[in-house]
């Protein structure tokens, strides 16, 4: 009784209680939660706010797509997650990255090193530059197991063969001794996927993994990625500029523009009813298979220069529904009907 009972019964505190409950619940449920992340680059010609206040979360087993054009900050967001922002120009200047409840930004360098590959793995865009040309594939994939504590080459070798089979590399046993140049683009990307999942990470970050691949090979790889994700129950962050890939691979999508997330939500909701004018315009501007129109919808202007961002909402010079307030202040992120959030004054107005 007493204070605890009062706290429990008091109707005035019901809202607060539920929000505390939600907060506890959310942090427990999220594998990764990024809060107000800011990564700036300090260059001779000024500060470039590559990532400017990004907030999102990833649940266990979920695939989150980060979509955006070049320069929108999607790759830097991912590099920030594993603290690999190009030094010394780039610095994470603010925010929190909570991975399994621990803030990665307060960790020491060797603690982060321990985490990379083991809990958070990454696949990069160009497989040829990620693989060392003078080591065999077996050697490079085996490195992950060596780091994991395996000492005997025999056990490592068997594990490498198993994982190469898992990513469907034909005759893996013979190909162990091959060098990266002897592999095709699609196969190299599979090797990288193998090194990525070798230590059974909780989160896999794939940054434009299929950009250098042909359509049919891309299809093979994305299906494989999806399969691996379902088998291992890991979470996936997929960075891409291709909205088609996001629709087919991800559960939720975050659309980035000029260093900020303008809209986030379930793939179904964002594609069917985009709330932010930028997302809406992107969807309309996309040439679609099977639907031929005389003219494509076009977004006027160019993506902004990060050195010299427009005032207020960065999208306002290109926005068809621009208002006075858009030029003055950046809109807050508000919930959208159907789930998710979007940052636009139109939505804010609609609410009030």
């Amino acid at each position: 009784m007493g204070f605890g009972y009062w706290l429990f019964k008091n109707p005035a505190l019901a809202g607060l209680k539920s929000s505390i409950f939600m907060a506890i619940h959310m942090t427990q449920e999220c594998l990764l939660s990024v809060e107000n992340l800011k990564t700036y680059f300090f260059t001779r010609s000024g500060v470039v706010k590559a990532v400017d206040g990004v907030t999102f979360s990833v649940h266990p087993g979920e695939a989150l797509g980060i979509a955006g054009e070049s320069g929108s900050g999607k790759s830097i967001t991912c590099l920030s997650l594993v603290r690999l922002v190009p030094q010394p120009a780039g610095r994470i200047v603010g925010g929190k990255i909570l991975f399994q409840g621990e803030d990665l930004l307060t960790k020491k360098e060797d603690e982060i090193r321990e985490l990379r590959g083991k809990s958070i793995a990454m696949i990069l865009q160009d497989p040829l530059t990620s693989l060392n040309p003078v080591y065999t594939i077996g050697n490079q994939v085996g490195e992950a197991f060596k780091l994991n504590g395996d000492k005997k080459w025999k056990t490592i070798r068997q594990k490498v063969i198993d994982i190469l089979n898992q990513v469907k590399i034909p005759s893996a046993e013979q190909r162990l001794k091959d060098y990266p140049f002897q592999f095709s683009g699609g196969m190299r990307q599979r090797v990288l996927a193998a090194t990525g999942i070798a230590r059974k990470p909780k989160l896999l970050i794939a940054d434009e993994p299929t950009t250098s691949l042909d359509v049919t090979i891309q299809d093979q790889f994305l299906r494989l990625l999806k399969e691996l994700q379902q088998q291992t129950q890991m979470s996936l962050i997929l960075v891409t500029h291709d909205l088609g890939i996001v629709a087919e691979t991800c559960d939720r999508v975050a659309v980035m523009y000029a260093g900020k997330i303008v809209e986030i939500g379930s793939v179904e909701r964002v594609y069917k009813a985009p709330a932010h004018p930028y997302t809406n315009a992107l969807m309309k501007a996309l040439p679609k298979m099977g639907r031929k129109s005389k003219r494509l919808y076009q977004i006027e202007g160019e993506p902004p220069n990060l050195h010299d961002l427009p005032s207020g909402c960065s999208f306002h010079p290109r926005c068809p529904t621009v208002m006075d307030i858009c030029r003055e202040a950046y809109p807050p992120s508000v919930p959208v009907t159907g789930g998710g959030d979007a940052a636009c004054w139109l939505l804010e107005k609609g609410r009030s």
Binding site: E69, D219, L243, G244, A285, L286, P287, M289, G290
Partner: protein, 321 residues
Amino acid sequence: MPLLEGQNVTKYFPISMGGLLHKHYGMLKAVDGITFSVNPGTCFGIAGESGSGKTTLAKMVLLLEKVTSGSIFFEGREIKGFSNKERMWYRTRVQTIFQDAASSLNPRMRIKDIISEPLVVHRKSMSKQETLARAEEMLRLVGLRSDHMNMFPHELSGGQKQRVATARAIILEPTLVILDEPVSSLDVSIRAQILNLLSDIQERQGLTYLMIAHDLATMHHVTNSIAVMYLGKIMEMGDTETVFSHPLHPYTKALFEAVPRPEPGRVKNVPALIGEIGNPLNPPSGCRFHPRCDQTASDCRGEEPRLREVTPGHQVACDRV
């Protein structure tokens, strides 16, 4: 009469190694006997994965590569036998926009010089003022401002560079423009601008386009007829609408299915295409697609299927349809 016509065009690259003891290994069959025709005022698309020979074909049309056998006709004249003078004339009629606009612009030249260079080469009698006035006119036509004239390429964005490349291609008022992956290096929001610009210019100048791209959604939007290439051969060719609504060749079907579409919840009813594109040095026997085909039969390995007309204007190189 078709504007551009190819008859049994082949391009083999000899593969050899060593200096003194020259050893000949074989022939890389980049383009292996293809026949096509492009009608004036239309856009003809060539789709295919890397290694299918689409860029080699474009280079032959541009006289940048010699045809190994077969012939290419432009306005009924064979381009192989052109004299130097005729070549100069041909190059005023046929222009190109390269894949990577940024690297096709000389970084040490100003935009006005880049755009007016074709005039300097081909219209020697034109005065300097006239040339510049014409360049400025082109610049405005492609949606840039006059103050871009004195800039250097690095001062422009990707989309603007693509516009400069477009202006340079059309300043001589050619009849045929070859577009090699015109939008693949651009962002989505810029892509639509450039595609719309290209179609506006086509309408205004009565241009004919030969477009090479791997992005099938763009292809569907832009082209009137399309050829799907695989390992140097045309697998399917016809009117774009027909090919996209009723693809017949197993490769075309698989290719269309593989394109990621912005339609959440779409269920792919075809399994992913197995394997990778074959080796052009030693292509598979019979139908080149048979090792990856899900409908392959024993006779697919024997004789190579010929491109045959299934319905008027729709050709397929598969005996099983």
